[in-house]
């Protein structure tokens, strides 16, 4: 039991220790480095607000991941869904610049959710009805979404009034109308309405998963497709809906990235992560670290937001590139999943000993590594 509660902090600690070794390998002082990281992320109200701001898209994606993975659909397409959500909502805001803010802002959020939901729905449809591996299809859809974005932002949606004769024009849209800007909620910082939206979505996600029949069906399908089907749950429709909802959350993250940005327009540099800042992948890490629970993901998103914001300060102080943060994140995922797997092994051995019988040769395995975490969390209501 102790192992269960310590698993997440332990894996974070292990990842940070390896990170410290890497900083040493760079010839820098890890203590100075982590101190710079901490003060950059959590020192002072401005840093705290920047961290919260960075955490918003992470949290939205993470809630989406929680919903999809609870139905045992690994939505790796956060990146693509962020992009389609952002594109749809940006196009809407550009077309209707004169709507009052209290209409326009809810509208763009809904449109963004629809954009993300559509993109995830494609993968969900193929998974549910054609049994296409969703990890692969969502990755492919990411690649397609990014190219479509590059096409639109450097073609039909480009800001035609920019005059960079020498450097060439930047792939970006016109300045969005001020009616669509997310209002700042703490003056003097960049903290805007997006935070409220994200936390509301997380709470809604929690209620959906544990307080509604639909959420129950999602979790039932995630635990066992066969058992759920036997109980009369429409398995295919549930998987499809979970993916659509998951994409909707990621789409909203896209809207927050555009309408809550400093430049107040949609900009990319043409690369895969130029617009999203890898939030679609980081959100997966956040969700896993939050135990696939939307409420714990709030804390988890804030911590990882701090890691990302602080990473930049660390780069400034000790000159270790922010890629270190990416590396640490990768390690966190590996450790969290491995510890979970070891726990299953450990429990089975214990059980076998208690029963005093040799269970060798029993068919089947315990399913994917992530599954056991699901089982644990589904049984004990958080």
């Amino acid at each position: 039991l102790l192992l269960t509660w310590l698993a997440l902090p332990l894996s974070a600690l292990a990842a940070l220790l390896i990170g410290a070794l890497l900083i040493l390998a760079f010839g820098a002082n890890p203590i100075t480095g982590y101190h710079a990281l901490l003060s950059g992320a959590f020192g002072g109200s401005y840093s705290l607000a920047s961290t919260a701001q960075k955490a918003v898209p992470l949290l939205l994606v993470a809630v989406g991941i929680c919903i999809a993975v609870r139905a045992s659909a690994w939505n790796i397409g956060g990146e693509g869904q962020i992009v389609t959500g952002a594109l749809a909502s940006t196009a809407t805001a550009l077309a209707l610049p004169n709507l009052p803010a209290f209409v326009l802002i809810p509208l763009v959020v809904v449109v963004a959710a629809a954009g993300g939901a559509f993109w995830a729905g494609i993968a969900g449809f193929f998974k549910a009805y054609f049994n296409v591996n969703e990890i692969l299809s969502t990755i492919m859809l990411n690649l397609v979404a990014v190219q479509v974005m590059n096409y639109l932002l450097s073609g039909p949606m480009i800001n035609k009034s920019q005059s960079f004769a020498i450097t060439g024009s930047i792939p970006q849209t016109r300045l969005l109308s001020t009616n669509s800007w997310l209002p700042t909620i703490v003056s003097g910082t960049q903290l805007n309405l997006g935070v409220v939206v994200a936390v509301a979505v997380a709470i809604a996600g929690y209620f959906l998963l544990w307080r509604t029949g639909f959420g129950f069906r999602i979790r039932a399908v995630g635990l066992s497709r066969d058992a759920a089907a036997y109980a009369g749950i429409p398995v295919k429709r549930t998987i499809m809906s979970a993916m659509v909802l998951s994409g909707a959350c990621c789409g909203i993250a896209g809207a927050v990235l555009v309408f809550g940005s400093i430049s107040h327009r949609m900009v990319t540099d043409g690369s895969l992560t130029g617009f999203t800042g890898n939030d679609g992948f980081n959100g997966i890490v956040v969700a896993l670290f939050g135990g696939l629970n939307p409420l714990w993901s709030i804390l988890s998103a804030y911590l990882f937001g701090g890691l990302l914001v602080g990473g930049t300060s660390m780069q400034g102080v000790i000159g270790v590139p922010t890629d270190l943060v990416t590396t640490i994140e990768g390690l966190v995922v590996i450790f969290v999943v491995s510890i979970d797997y070891l726990r299953v092994r450990f429990r089975i051995q214990e059980e076998a000993q208690r029963l005093g019988q040799d269970k060798e040769g029993a068919p089947g395995g315990p399913g994917r590594p992530g599954r056991s975490m699901l089982m644990k969390l589904a049984r004990a209501r958080p």
Binding site: F130, V132, G155, D323, T326, I348, P363, P366, P369
Partner: protein
Amino acid sequence: MSAFFTYAILTATIASAIQYATPFLLAALGETLGQRSGVLNLGVDGIMLMGAFSCYYVALETGSDLLGIVVGILMSVTLRAQQGISGIGVYIFGLGMSDLLFVRFVGTPLPVNPLPTVDIPLLSKIPALGRMFFQQNLLIYLAFVLVPALAFVLYHTNFGTKVLAVGENPAAADSVGINVTRTRYATVILGCSMAGLAGATLLLLDGIFQENLTQSAGFIAVALVYFGAWRPAGVMSGSLLYGVVTAVVLQWKSLGIIPTSAADLAATAPAVITILALVALAGRFKQPAALGKPYVRGA
């Protein structure tokens, strides 16, 4: 369009299609081996990145491509990956780590020498075919030789039989004394070394390392394994299709058949084709029964 159908352009396109196909082929063959033993390794892309960087660094320091390739493979092997979502962890790790090392040890990107092409005697003199198939570099020949080699290993050796048994029914394999864990480690280590080699190939075709060099090529390789129905020959045809589509799109772009404004859209072609192929082929072929399931005795 008529500019495309000339002897010189067509042969050059096919020749470059084979080059584009090679990294996918190598990575996908390695993944095929792993999946046949039941291990779904989604970290291929991260491993390719590490392989590519290690190769780049060593080649830059020593001037020897060959040594670079060897170190690239060794580096990838130490990263041998786990299943499913932890593969995504390996990917994120490789993505960050390769660039971290790049900034730390290299900083300014310098090109390395591409591998020299080796003309195969006699065969390279055949008109058209010679230009297309027999004037390539060694890694490309190696990749295509590995196709029948892997098929032979899987279907005609003791080791191959063990791999297939472990992938279909690990409990049964265990009961007849096959060491499931060791077999899976072996396939994953071999598979990762092939992914590392794929990264090295990609690097030596470009000649320079950059952040996220692979551009998700590793994930496409995993998709190609499904596409090829877990058979080496099928995987090869998938890789070649991918290579041809990539080469044709690039060629059309440079000939102006595709307007530059639509070039970004045309670049989605390989990914779209992969999705459609996954849908079309889904369920036609049986996947290894124990794919993606960790084996725990007595579970």
